[in-house]
């Protein structure tokens, strides 16, 4: 750990006397120079910390509502493959003055791992113009080995269950997650919402793109009532929106979902994978911003998904059809203002590996601004069913694209 200014570099040596340590703690016996685990940055006057770099290449901020949630990492190596993931670590930090007026602090970091090393620069902004903190990231990567799957700008989060799959949650709280969806703004400008899942096994989804405008893991639901946790406040947890600043070319945003049955461990990862294979000796450079926001940037011309719900299929009062599930997707946004049941709004749905049971309905929920898309679907085989849908009127998309993998049996 080092502190720098324009001309000098100063070591910040580890010593136990800079910590409050309980009298009976074995940490009192740590020798000077042992080393720090990481660091955090406090607000002025030692008010609560707002950014923290701690463990492997992890870092996170407390977002616009002062509540830590999901994390970012410097790099992800071989995530979600059938062998152990590599966790390169930041082994040295230099903290120094900002490089521009909008920045509060610069952090340089040396990344080290079995297959990759890196030189990082972070420009940290507290309470930026997007409404939350911003982290500028510049990453120079040097490959020691061929890497099958390298994840650029990785985000790590937790999703146990939500309004979608409440049936699986034994807990008293209605929803438990740090993020409820992956949001994408593709290079072509399409807005996509992919609600997160807690799958039965490791699930990897790829969203092929070229020079994406942005992607992120988002906690769109900001309502206390939907979480009811007055201790850890999932409703206040930030979103992280990654905005590339140089040309990333062709590749895919990849989402990895791991099965979980608690809220303690992160089970969601999203990152960018370049098309080009990554070989020993390669040098890579990526520059991007991470915006720690309340939610993803507002879409200007389309309404967005508010909630995704699933349950057994069928019509009330009639026998429950086998192997059929009902999907209920709520949209909201100015693009839907003034429309009603007579406006000709239709749901456009595509399905793979399954069937949509007609009819599909789309209507405004009486007394609210919500538009609801409702349909039943059937699964062809072990699944999952791939679903993609949006609302349309007069040939124009009214909403972002909602897409998901689904199984008829959530349990």
């Amino acid at each position: 750990m080092c502190a720098t200014d324009d001309n000098h570099v100063r070591d910040v040596p580890f010593a136990t006397d800079i910590f409050d340590i309980p009298a009976d703690s074995p940490a009192r016996d740590l020798p000077d120079g042992f080393g720090f685990a990481g660091f955090r940055v406090m607000r002025p006057d030692l008010e609560p910390d707002w950014v923290s770099f701690l463990g492997a290449s992890y870092f996170r901020t407390d977002g616009p509502e002062g509540q830590y949630g999901l994390s970012a990492r410097g790099i992800a190596v071989n995530t979600g493959l059938d062998r152990p993931e590599e966790f390169p670590r930041f082994k040295a930090f230099w903290l120094g003055p900002p490089e521009s007026d909008e920045e509060d602090l610069s952090v340089w970091a040396e990344l080290d791992g079995p297959s990759v090393t890196g030189a990082y620069r972070f420009g940290l902004i507290r309470d930026g113009e997007s409404g939350g903190h911003v982290t500028h990231v510049a990453a120079h990567l040097f490959l020691r080995e061929d890497v099958e799957r390298i994840g650029i700008a990785p985000l790590t989060s937790m999703y146990w269950y939500s309004e979608r799959d409440r049936v699986t949650g034994l807990d008293w709280r209605p929803e438990i997650h740090d993020s409820d969806g992956l949001a994408l703004e593709t290079g072509a400008g399409e807005r996509i919402w992919r609600p997160l899942r807690n799958p039965g096994g490791v699930a990897t989804s790829s969203f092929v793109d070229e020079n994406p405008c942005g992607f992120g893991l988002i906690q769109r639901d900001r309502t206390f009532e939907n979480y009811q946790d007055d201790g850890v406040f999932y409703d206040r947890r930030p979103a992280a929106w990654v905005r590339p600043r140089n040309s990333w070319g062709r590749g895919a945003v990849q989402l990895v979902e791991l099965p979980t049955n608690d809220e303690t461990f992160d089970n969601i990862v999203a990152y960018w994978v370049p098309d080009e294979p990554v070989r020993r000796g390669d040098e890579l450079f990526f520059e991007y911003d991470i915006e720690w926001r309340a939610r993803d940037p507002e879409a200007t011309d389309v309404a967005t998904v508010v909630a995704t719900r699933q349950g057994q299929g069928g019509i009330p009062g009639q026998p429950i059809p086998p192997d059929t599930a009902k999907m209920v997707v709520d949209f909201a946004g100015p693009a839907l203002a003034g429309l009603d049941r007579e406006s000709g709004v239709e749901a456009v749905l595509e399905v793979k590996n399954g069937d949509i049971v007609q009819p599909v309905s789309a209507y405004r929920v009486v007394g609210t601004d919500l538009w609801r898309m409702v349909f039943d679907f059937r699964q062809h085989d072990a699944g999952p069913v791939n679903l993609r849908g949006y609302l349309r009127n007069d040939g124009r998309a009214l909403t972002e694209t909602w897409l998901t993998d689904a199984r008829t049996d959530l349990q």
Binding site: D171, W172, Q228, Q310, L410
Partner: protein, 527 residues
């Protein structure tokens, strides 16, 4: 004078719109081929006023019950729910020169197979309403013209009869007549108030509910509907109740509005000693809510017509018993003397709480029973039956007198009001339970987390203490925190049932001067 009018001339008066006529068919709802000539028949039976009705109930109670046989035939036989709903009745105005309140006789069919007799009282005269299928329109999607033509020849001679009736008035908008009450099936009836839709039901009487030998369902066999005073919507409905064990006379004075109030009296004449008798029964549905959500594969967050049994005891204690959908049938009795009121309430009134855009559970009424005379000692009884869908009522609440009701020449009279409204009329300033949440503890799956949220219209007093109990023993670990909305208070604790199958939980917020909240009760059952 009315009796002197021949049926032919009476109908001519109706059709030409001339006064004075007691009743007529509402033109807009009149099927084109309807011939009302012989519909209203001056009665040869009793007038339907209270004293003669009580005499009739007393008299038949001395004989073995002669109950109407279930009867469905012809076009009314074998109908599913949708086909039955496609039969639409014409409406009869109840008032002279005024079609602002209509009575729709309801067709037989589907589960409604017991014929009832309907009579209308106007002034001094009572008219019986003859069963005539011509009063119905049969939806073309479900019925062929041939079957409809044939049906018009069916009449009451075959034992067919109306299955009940409903009343309509301008409840929500001045230009639209909305149904506000329906009497149909056994002794069931249900009502709504302004802005609400049908939810829970009431009944005239319950006998042997949840008894092993099976419940007895008394029937309303005859109704007399009395035209309201001009420009009034307060309709008086009287009914004769009959069943194997009991006969009874009922009178309901029904005033629809912001709260739909039914001032009720009943005189019961048991044919035997009845121990398991339920006065002023309410019937509702509780499938699931935040107290038990896991394992229910449904896109909605909560599905129930009522969320709690609310009681104001004789001494003024306020009780809220959260409803459940238990793994086995549960009977709870809340012993009391001269209760001030009880009811089944649907407290959560936001769409977000339920998420059903069609069933709109947030618009379902609460119903409150307010005794008007001292009911003495007895119990408010709550019965909770396990269900796996929302299509069967599984909640029953009623008053059970301590002593059995037996045969008596005087009969047993009970007077009460039913209040159908969005919230119960007990508005005493107190903390009120808003939600009950429960689930497995994340740290120890043998423990259950119990969370109860209270709201208060006014500021909470200082120095609140939690009085929480499990099977009567204090729970010392209960915490009390403010919710982020700044108004709600949350009581939470973990509870380990151990080997106990049934735990009665109880929470009261205590202020310096006594209870600052109603008392929350719940029966926790080990799955």
């Amino acid at each position: 004078m009315k009796a002197a009018i021949s049926r032919r001339s009476f109908v001519q008066l109706v059709l030409s719109g001339l006064a004075p006529v007691p009743f007529g068919l509402r033109a807009a709802a009149q099927p084109s081929d309807f011939d009302p000539d012989t519909l209203l028949v001056p009665t040869e039976g009793i007038s339907g006023r209270w004293e003669p009705l009580v005499d009739l109930a007393r008299q038949i109670s001395t004989e073995e019950a002669q109950l109407p046989e279930p009867q469905l035939s012809g076009i009314f036989e074998g109908l599913d729910y949708d086909a039955y709903r496609a039969i639409r009745p014409a409406g009869l105005p109840l008032q002279r020169d005024d079609d602002s309140i209509l009575m729709d006789p309801l067709p037989p069919g589907s589960v409604f197979s017991h014929p009832v007799s309907l009579s209308l009282i106007h002034g001094e005269q009572t008219f019986d309403l003859r069963f005539d299928p011509s009063i119905f329109e049969f939806g073309a999607d479900y019925f062929t013209p041939e079957s409809v033509a044939q049906a018009k020849d069916q009449d009451g001679d075959e034992g067919l009869g109306y299955s009940g009736f409903r009343l309509r008035a301008a409840l929500n908008r001045p230009d639209k007549l909305d149904e506000f009450i329906v009497f149909q099936g056994a002794s069931y009836f249900r009502a709504v108030a302004r802005g609400l839709i049908y939810g829970l039901s009431a009944r005239g009487l319950a006998i042997d509910t949840a008894a092993q030998e099976g419940e007895e369902f008394p029937l309303f066999t005859k109704f007399w509907i009395e035209a309201p005073e001009p420009k009034s919507h307060a309709v008086i409905v009287r009914a004769l109740l009959d069943s194997r064990s009991c006969a009874g006379a009922f009178e309901f004075e029904i005033s629809p509005g912001e709260t739909t109030v039914m001032k009720t009296r009943c005189r019961l004449f048991p044919r035997r000693e009845i121990d398991e008798i339920g006065i002023a029964p309410l019937t509702s549905m509780f499938f699931f809510g935040p107290s038990k959500r896991a394992g229910i594969d449904d896109y909605r967050d909560a599905v129930h017509d009522s969320s709690g049994l609310q009681i104001v005891t004789g001494t003024g204690r306020r009780i809220w018993r959260s409803l459940g959908n238990p793994p086995t049938l549960q009977v709870s009795a809340f012993t009391d003397e001269n209760p001030q009121g009880f009811g089944l309430s649907q407290r959560q009134s936001s769409f977000d709480f339920y998420q059903d855009a069609e069933a709109r559970y947030e618009k379902r009424p609460s119903c409150w029973i307010e005794p008007l005379d001292p009911w003495g000692r007895g119990s408010v009884v709550l019965i909770e039956i396990p269900v796996r869908t929302e299509f069967h009522d599984n909640i029953v609440a009623f008053w059970r007198p301590e002593a059995p009701l037996g045969p008596s020449d005087e009969g047993h009279e009970f007077q009460y009001r039913l209040h159908w409204s969005a919230v119960s009329p007990d508005t005493m300033q107190l903390g009120r339970v808003y939600a009950h949440r429960s689930g497995a503890s994340i740290n120890d799956p043998d423990q259950r987390v119990v969370v109860v949220d209270f709201r208060n219209d006014e500021a909470w007093p200082d120095g609140l203490q939690v009085d929480a109990r499990a099977n009567g023993s204090p729970v010392d670990t209960a915490t009390l925190v403010h919710l982020p909305d700044g108004e709600g208070l949350r009581v939470a604790f973990n509870y380990e049932p151990g080997d106990t199958d049934t735990t009665e939980l109880e929470i009261t917020l205590m202020g310096p001067d006594g209870p600052a909240s109603e008392t929350w009760l719940y029966r926790l059952i080990r799955p």
